[in-house]
Amino acid sequence: MLGEDYLEVVKALKNALEPFGLTVKVVGENGEALSFDEDKAVLRKALFVVVLKEPPTLQELKTSGWRIDDIAMLSVSLLYLLSRGGKASRKELLDILYSKFGKWRVNYVVERLIKLGYLEEEDENIVIGWRSKIEIDFNKILGIQTGSSL
C-alpha cells in the first residue's frame, strides 16, 4: 500500500531508476502512454511498469534469448496489424509471415508471441497484445516522428 500520495513514491522510484538506464512508464487501460500529470481518476486505473529507457541493441536482445528471426516476425506482425488498424485474421497474418519466413517456424513463434503477450487472440483474429502496446513505440516503428512518450 503506497497511500494517497503514491504518485510521489512512483516519481521517486522513477528518479532512482534513471541512473540505471530504466524508467517508469505509465500506461492507460487501453495501452496508451500516459503522463504523471494526467487526471487522478485516469491514473488510478493505469499501470506503472519499469522499462528500459533506451532501446536495446540487437546483440542485447540476442543475449536475452531472442532470435533475429523471431524479432523480425514480431516486427512483421506488428507492422501488418498496424496497417490493418490493429487487427487481422489469423490466416491473413500467417500468410504474410509464411511469405517471409519458414512455414514451420512461423506457427511456433506466433504461439510464443501470443503466450508472451505481444500478440493476442480475439476469436479468429489476432490483435496487438498488451505487451506490445506498453513496450513498443508504434510511431517509431512506422518511421513517423512525434514526441516520445518516454
Binding site: L52, K53, L58, I71, Y80, F101, W104, R105, N107, I136
Partner: protein, 245 residues
C-alpha cells in the same frame, strides 16, 4: 479576485500545461478565450500587456495544434502504406533492427537468491559420499573397448554408417514432403535402436544439417531443412516412443 491576478493565473496555467504535456489539445483554448472576452471590458490599460501575452501564448498553442493535426493525419494516411512497404522491402535483419530501435522492454529480474544458494549447499552436503570399493588383491585399471564389448557395455555400432543411412532416409522423405515427422524416423524394434537414431539425428542437427521444430497446433516434432543456413533444434522427449507402430 482582481482581474490582474486572474490574468496571471491564466498565463501560468497555460505555461504549466504546455510544459507538462506534449499534446497541445490538453489546453482548452475555447475556455481561455471565453474568459479573456469576459474580462476584456474590465481591463485597465496596464493590464492589456498581460492580456496580449496570454493571447500570444494561445496563438502558439493553436499553431502547435495545427501541426499536431497535420502530423496525425499524415500518420493515418501514410502509416498503413509505410508498414506494408517495410514488410515487402526490408530484410529479416533490417526488420528486426527497426523493431529493436522502437522497443523498450519491461524489465524482468531473474537471478539466484541466497536462499537458493543455501538450499543447494544443503543438498550437496547432505549427499552420501560415493567411494569405489576395490576388493582385496585387485587393482583399478582401464578396460579396453573390446573388453567393454565383451561385457555388453559397448556396442559395435558404426555411428558414421548409421548417420549416412539416416541422412539418406531423411533426404528422400524431405524431397517428397518438405518436412518429416520426427517419430517417423526415430523409431525402431528396440529401445536401443530408438535411442541410437535419436542420438544420430541430434548429432546431424547440431552439425547444422537439419532443424528440428515443434508444431504446437499439431503437437508434433518435425525435421526440416535449415532456412538460409540458420538451423534450430528443440528438446524432444522420447518417453513413450519405443517401438515402431
Amino acid at each position: 479576485m482582481s482581474v490582474k491576478i486572474r490574468l496571471r493565473e491564466l498565463l501560468e496555467e497555460l505555461a504549466e500545461t504546455a510544459r507538462r504535456t506534449s499534446d497541445p489539445f490538453k489546453i482548452d483554448v475555447k475556455r481561455v478565450l471565453d474568459e479573456l472576452a469576459e474580462i476584456l471590458p474590465m481591463l485597465k490599460y496596464e493590464e492589456m500587456v498581460l492580456d496580449a501575452e496570454i493571447l500570444s501564448r494561445v496563438v502558439e498553442i493553436i499553431k502547435e495544434q495545427e501541426d499536431w493535426v497535420k502530423n496525425r493525419s499524415a500518420m493515418l494516411v501514410l502509416g498503413p502504406f509505410i508498414a506494408l512497404l517495410k514488410i515487402a522491402s526490408l530484410s529479416k535483419q533490417e526488420l528486426a533492427k527497426e523493431l529493436a530501435e522502437a522497443w523498450h522492454p519491461i524489465v524482468e529480474l531473474e537471478q539466484i537468491t541466497w536462499i537458493d544458494v543455501f538450499r543447494a549447499l544443503n543438498y550437496l552436503s547432505a549427499r552420501r559420499k560415493f567411494a569405489l570399493e576395490i576388493p582385496e588383491g585387485k587393482r583399478v585399471g582401464v578396460a579396453s573397448s573390446s573388453e567393454l564389448g565383451e561385457l555388453g557395455l559397448l556396442s559395435e555400432l558404426d555411428l558414421e554408417e548409421e548417420a549416412k543411412k539416416l541422412e539418406k532416409e531423411i533426404a528422400e522423405k524431405l524431397a517428397e514432403k518438405g518436412a518429416v515427422e520426427y517419430f517417423e524416423v526415430v523409431r525402431g524394434e528396440s529401445l536401443s535402436e530408438v535411442f541410437v537414431k535419436a542420438y544420430v539425428i541430434s548429432y546431424l542437427a547440431t552439425a547444422g544439417k537439419y532443424s528440428i521444430v515443434y508444431d504446437p497446433l499439431r503437437e508434433k516434432y518435425y525435421i526440416v531443412k535449415p532456412s538460409n543456413g540458420d538451423y534450430h533444434t528443440v528438446v524432444v522427449p522420447l518417453r513413450g516412443v519405443l517401438h515402431s507402430g
